[in-house]
Amino acid sequence: MSDSDRIKKRQDGEAFALSLRVVLAEFTLELDEILTPSGVTAVFGRSGSGKTTLLRAIAGFEKPVRGRIALGDQVWFDEEAKIFEPPNRRSIGMLFQDVRLFPHLDVRANLDFAWKRRNTWTAKAGMQQNIARDEVIEALDLDIMLGRNVTSLSGGEQQRVALARTLLTSPDILLLDEPLAALDRERKAEILPYLEDVTRRFMIPTLFVSHDLDEVARLADRMMVLSEGQVQMYGETAEILERLDLEPIGGRFEAGVLVEGKVLRHDTRLHLTTVDLDGDALAIPLAEDSSVGDILRLRVRARDVALATERPAGLSIRNVLPGEITDLIRTPGSGEVEARVQLRSAHIRARLTLAAVEELGLAPGRRVFVLVKSVSLEGGR
């Protein structure tokens, strides 16, 4: 195959058809999926659900009992054909939870280690673009720390160096194994924008293992929910996050919706940003980092939404949007009801009590006013 064919395949996304049929000692997993070049797919589940094992099988650190693992036309494991490529022959880039920089090398030498080996698999695969060294260093702001000893860096800085290091091999797929789990909130907030930027900028399909739904909501376009080694759900992140049956898996994560909207204006005096959800304006706490016209990703938890049958007056809640109830779902074994309300174009979920639903006579088709108490900003682009 010529290089231009490969580049075309890459653009079509065909090169990133990840085909998995993995039988490990503890579970069986089957998946045939075309990963989009700039897409982040989250692999989500509780600890012990097999998500790290899955990633390690793709990387080649675990050998499946049976099955097949292929990315595009590169076959990495095929039990029947007796193929098993060791990790160093797979065009993967892996980010580990415990970072794993080489402590005997400084930042520059850690990067050079990867850079010198960037062509080891090109002969076989050859479809990756060659990522420029300077661009990686610039994207992750590593210029000023090149001469530093890696042990003197903060956790967030170390993970940035590790991300740069793995990018320098120009991998065909990025495997992120809970790279943020060991970091505290502040460090997480520091590295998340880099992860977002890098996956889009370098167009590398990414599998992102996480047990933190906030991270998933922020980074992933698609998500796969694993439970006891089985894929329980797979689809668009926004769609899956809405599903109530996620709760037993998601734990503390609250059911709700993920919506995207465009920044209309900022009000610095009242400290508010107004976001347009295709016709509905939503006021959120000032999003300082965004500018007018930016797309923001917002999460509205079901418990932060109330419904009213008439437009309420004298209310402290700023966000009152008209809509129509499309579904009412009773949570089994409780007095709670989940309502799905269609706004002008977006939709939203509200958690109500059964008593309220009966008293107000709520039913699908009923026009209501949606009262949104709070919104959290998950990210922007």
Binding site: P86, P87, N88, F96, R100, L101, T169
Partner: protein, 225 residues
């Protein structure tokens, strides 16, 4: 104090250097295998490697004498290729020392490799480094202290070897008469002055070497963090 014959000193240093050099080559892969294998053979190999630590040197020496004797297959083969016997020769002494000092090379290296762990190796592999590449560029530099410790312990232990040498090497000046044997010899013949000179020298040398190792060790620890 009269100056003793210098030949046992040079012979001992030659023996210890050669043994250490060969054990670096033989012991490193063995230690690497022990540190990374999941094989059921591992405890067996570990036990065999550690035997010289617990066996009286005379036991090891006795069996080596049997195995290396010109009447045994190995001994006879050696006579055929080299024209000399393994027993009561310098070559035989090197063979014996390698076995005798094996645990002093393998054990520090195994713990050093285990301390490095799978993490850096997997990271190197994910960046495209082959196992050999990863060993030389990542594992070996991270195990530098282990290599120093193993080398020094092997060298120092070979210096002090007595029982095995006596059993398989005897006491041939310039061939197998190493320091410890020379000292024993001097004491037997009541030449205390000569015995004293050699013993004090060995004592001082061993102390200085160990002092250097522990000083280096401390500094290395601080640097690695």
């Amino acid at each position: 104090m009269t100056m003793p014959d210098a030949s046992p000193i040079w012979l001992t240093i030659k023996l210890a250097s050669l043994t250490t050099a060969i054990l670096f080559v033989v012991g490193t892969p063995l230690a690497w295998w022990l540190a990374s294998t999941k094989s059921k053979l591992r405890p067996f190999v570990e036990a065999v490697t550690a035997l010289p630590l617990v066996l009286p040197p005379t036991v090891l020496g006795f069996y080596l004498l049997l195995v290396m004797s010109p009447h045994s297959p190995l001994g006879a083969f050696w006579v055929k290729v080299s024209g000399e016997t393994l027993t009561f020769s310098f070559t035989g002494l090197v063979f014996a020392s390698i076995l005798y000092s094996l645990p002093f090379m393998v054990q520090p290296l195994t713990s050093a490799f285990e301390a490095v762990g799978r993490g850096p190796i997997e990271a190197a592999a994910s960046l495209g480094a082959s196992p050999v590449d990863a060993f030389f560029r990542v594992v070996a530099p991270l195990s530098a202290r282990g290599f120093v410790t193993a080398g020094v312990l092997t060298f120092a232990h070979t210096l002090g070897e007595f029982g095995v040498v006596l059993m398989v090497g005897g006491n041939i000046p310039g061939e197998t008469r190493v320091l410890s044997i020379a000292i024993y010899d001097h004491v037997e013949t009541l030449q205390y002055a000569e015995a004293h000179a050699l013993s004090a020298g060995l004592l001082a040398f061993s102390f200085i070497v160990l002092l250097l190792v522990y000083t280096f060790d401390r500094k290395a620890r601080v640097r690695v963090g």
